[in-house]
């Protein structure tokens, strides 16, 4: 037997494989679960509320001020749990500050850490200024020109860093090897931004309705923004799932599919939009509860989106065929 014949008889006639190796995942999935879903949720509300506060303050004129006040407080309150959730999720929580020993442009998590830290500082200052403003309003003194300038500057910075905090998380997920997250990066980022904006607008309008904040022109604009954002989010979610093709399996089928269809799209988007469309025809006394219900459904829907995307990513990483489909 020649070496050539020997090689042929032993190895080369192996059957073309069924793909993969005992169905063992090719890549390792993330450990992220509830804490990170919670962070994505609250971080989104915090960032988007700061953006909406900036819109109201810079563009909303006099009628925007009461809603901007609510938005500023919501932004700060939603931000408070964020670092706690992030630190608790670390494998070594006491080393959280190691995030602040370097800056790496190739790591969305590193950029995000610095962005969130910046946002936290700006948010704290803006909230402090708002508290001061509230005190002065009680004593019927209006803040002077310098304070106005500081307020405008903080609103602008808060809006910019708020956009960052609301949007970077989708980029962070897209920059992984997880098929569900990485296959359509140009859709996942905008989806996360728009679901954050939806949740921010819904949180502000819920509080505004509950606190019986006097209706003004700004209310109408906030409602318009909420509707626009919900429609954008819904179309991005559907487009994203369709563009993923077979990679969308974890969030198109099974438990997560139900969460995405009924929770996110049905209860979280379609229902609030319907309530919004019907509200002019409702009797006056029902409008307020309807608006609060609509906002609460929207907030729950955004949570369902975050839940489905994060948990779906874990399933996607555990599916070797999803990885092989993307890597040939």
């Amino acid at each position: 037997m020649t070496p050539q014949e020997r090689a042929r008889s032993t190895i080369s006639h192996v059957q073309p494989s069924q793909r993969g190796y005992y169905d063992i995942p090719v890549i390792h999935g993330p450990h992220w679960k509830w804490l990170i879903i919670g962070y994505f949720y609250f971080g989104g509300i915090a960032g988007a509320s700061a953006v909406i506060a900036a819109f109201l303050r810079l563009l909303g004129g006099k009628s925007g001020a009461p809603l901007a006040r609510i938005a500023t407080y919501i932004s700060f309150l939603a931000l408070v749990p964020c670092p706690v959730l992030l630190i608790l999720d670390l494998g070594r929580p006491t080393r959280f500050f190691h995030m602040l020993r370097t800056f790496r442009v190739t790591s969305p998590m590193s950029i995000g850490t610095w962005g969130l830290t910046t946002f936290g500082g700006i948010s704290a200052l803006a909230t402090g200024l708002q508290l001061l403003d509230d005190r002065l309003a009680c004593s019927r003194e209006r803040p002077g020109g310098v304070w106005r300038g500081v307020g405008t500057g903080l609103s602008l910075l808060g809006g910019l860093s708020g956009f960052f905090v609301a949007g970077y998380t989708g980029v962070l997920l897209a920059a992984t090897a997880v098929p569900l997250w990485s296959k359509r990066p140009a859709l996942l980022g905008p989806l996360f931004l728009s679901s954050a904006m939806t949740s921010g607008a819904a949180a502000i309008s819920a509080v505004a309705w509950i606190s019986q904040c006097k209706e003004s022109g700004a209310h109408e604009q906030l409602r318009a923004l909420e509707t626009l954002s919900t429609v954008t989010e819904a179309s991005l979610l559907v487009t994203w799932i369709m563009a993923l093709g077979s990679t969308a399996k974890p969030i198109a089928e099974g438990h997560l599919g139900a969460v995405a269809r009924h929770g996110a799209v049905g209860a979280g988007m379609a229902l609030p939009l319907t309530i919004g469309a019907l509200s002019p025809y409702l009797p006056q006394r029902l409008r307020r509860p309807a608006a609060v219900l609509s906002a609460a459904l929207t907030l729950a829907g955004v949570f369902a989106v975050r839940y489905a995307v994060v948990m779906g990513g874990r399933q996607s990483a555990d599916d070797p065929s999803a990885t092989f489909d993307m890597t040939g």
């Binding site: 090689a7 042929r8 008889s9 080369s12 192996v14 059957q15 494989s17 993969g20 190796y21 063992i24 995942p25 090719v26 890549i27 390792h28 999935g29 993330p30 819109f55 563009l59 909303g60 004129g61 670390l90 494998g91 070594r92 080393r95 959280f96 190691h98 995030m99 790496r104 190739t106 790591s107 969305p108 998590m109 590193s110 995000g112 850490t113 970077y168 980029v171 897209a174 920059a175 090897a177 990485s182 990066p185 140009a186 996942l188 980022g189 905008p190 931004l193 728009s194 904006m197 022109g217 700004a218 604009q221 923004l225 954008t232 990483a317 070797p320 990885t323 092989f324 890597t327 040939g328």
Partner: protein
């Protein structure tokens, strides 16, 4: 490689006498044991060439790796259970398994054909884990290898899904992320990595990446000439080191399609998704600003 160091050893270009002498006390770089200066900044990268056609599945590499790196047993979770589906009981690379021998069993004319391959961290030229690490714990060493500094890692876990090959993993016992270090401590001490030293067949070769790349391609050509049409080189721009990864410092000679060994044929560097994703998100943010400006102007 100059000749004044005596005969060049067969495959890896490393004088085996020096490699196997743990008591070698010369300063690093002095004897230039790898044919490359170990500590200078001009060092050429070193890595592995792992040849599936020579592997006999003895798992000496797994044992040597565990022993040298003092890695805990990794089946504690499953109570030291056997997988039951093959001789592969370590299943996957992980926090406590830095070399993993895959046992691919496939039907053949004579019954079953076995392919065995010792998988390991690829020490990518552009590494997803290193890109993702937000603490600076993951570094590129002077040997061209990618190492997680355990005293810096805070267990954020981002490197885990950022690796296209599924290499790093968080440890349940200490919370940090762990993977092969290319035996950084041994390299500093002038020794070859434990797995390559232990391999009895020469399936795991250690040496300068450029030399190994040439050797790997040559080996594939030889195998093909011998009639092994399924032979292929894994670790260059075309296969394994594709999609912005820029090649692998730990390469493989495979005798089957990469997915049979659970290796992705054409992985992509995850970092490349940042630009399109961030750009699209910026466009969306600009859209919100425009919509707000329009809406508020109309109502003012």
């Amino acid at each position: 490689m100059t000749s004044d160091r005596g005969p060049v050893p067969s495959m890896i270009g490393i004088p085996s006498k020096q490699l196997n002498d743990p008591l070698r006390t010369s300063r690093p770089g002095e004897n230039d044991p790898y044919g490359v200066d170990l500590v200078s900044q001009t060092l050429s990268a070193v890595g592995f060439l792992t040849d599936a056609t020579i592997c006999i599945g003895c798992k000496a590499c797994e044992v040597a790796c565990k022993q040298w790196n003092q890695l805990p047993a990794d089946s504690q979770a499953s109570n030291f259970a056997m997988t039951g589906f093959s001789y592969d009981n370590t299943v996957d690379l992980g926090a406590s398994t830095w070399r993993h021998v895959a046992f691919v069993e496939r039907p053949s004319r004579d019954g079953i054909a076995w392919l065995m391959l010792s998988d390991v961290c690829k020490h990518c030229v552009h590494a997803g884990c290193l890109d993702a690490c937000p603490t600076g714990a993951i570094i590129r060493t002077e040997f061209g290898s990618v190492v997680i500094q355990d005293d810096i890692c805070n267990g954020c876990g981002y490197c885990v899904p950022a690796c296209p090959f599924g290499v790093p993993q968080l440890s349940h016992s200490d919370g940090g992320s762990h993977k092969c270090t290319l035996c950084y401590d041994r390299l500093r001490g002038g020794l070859a990595p434990a797995c390559a030293t232990a391999c009895p067949t020469g399936s795991i070769r250690f040496g300068a990446v450029e030399e190994l790349r040439g050797a790997g391609r040559e080996r594939v050509a030889t195998l093909k000439a011998q009639g092994l049409d399924d032979a292929r080189f894994y670790g260059d721009d075309e296969m394994g080191g594709s999609g912005g990864i820029g090649g692998l410092n730990a390469m493989f000679v495979l005798n089957g399609p990469p997915d049979a060994f659970n290796l992705p044929a054409r992985p992509r560097l995850p970092r490349l998704n940042i630009a399109p994703s961030a750009a699209a998100t910026l466009v969306a943010a600009a859209g919100y600003c425009l919509a707000a400006a329009f809406s508020f102007r109309r109502h003012r």
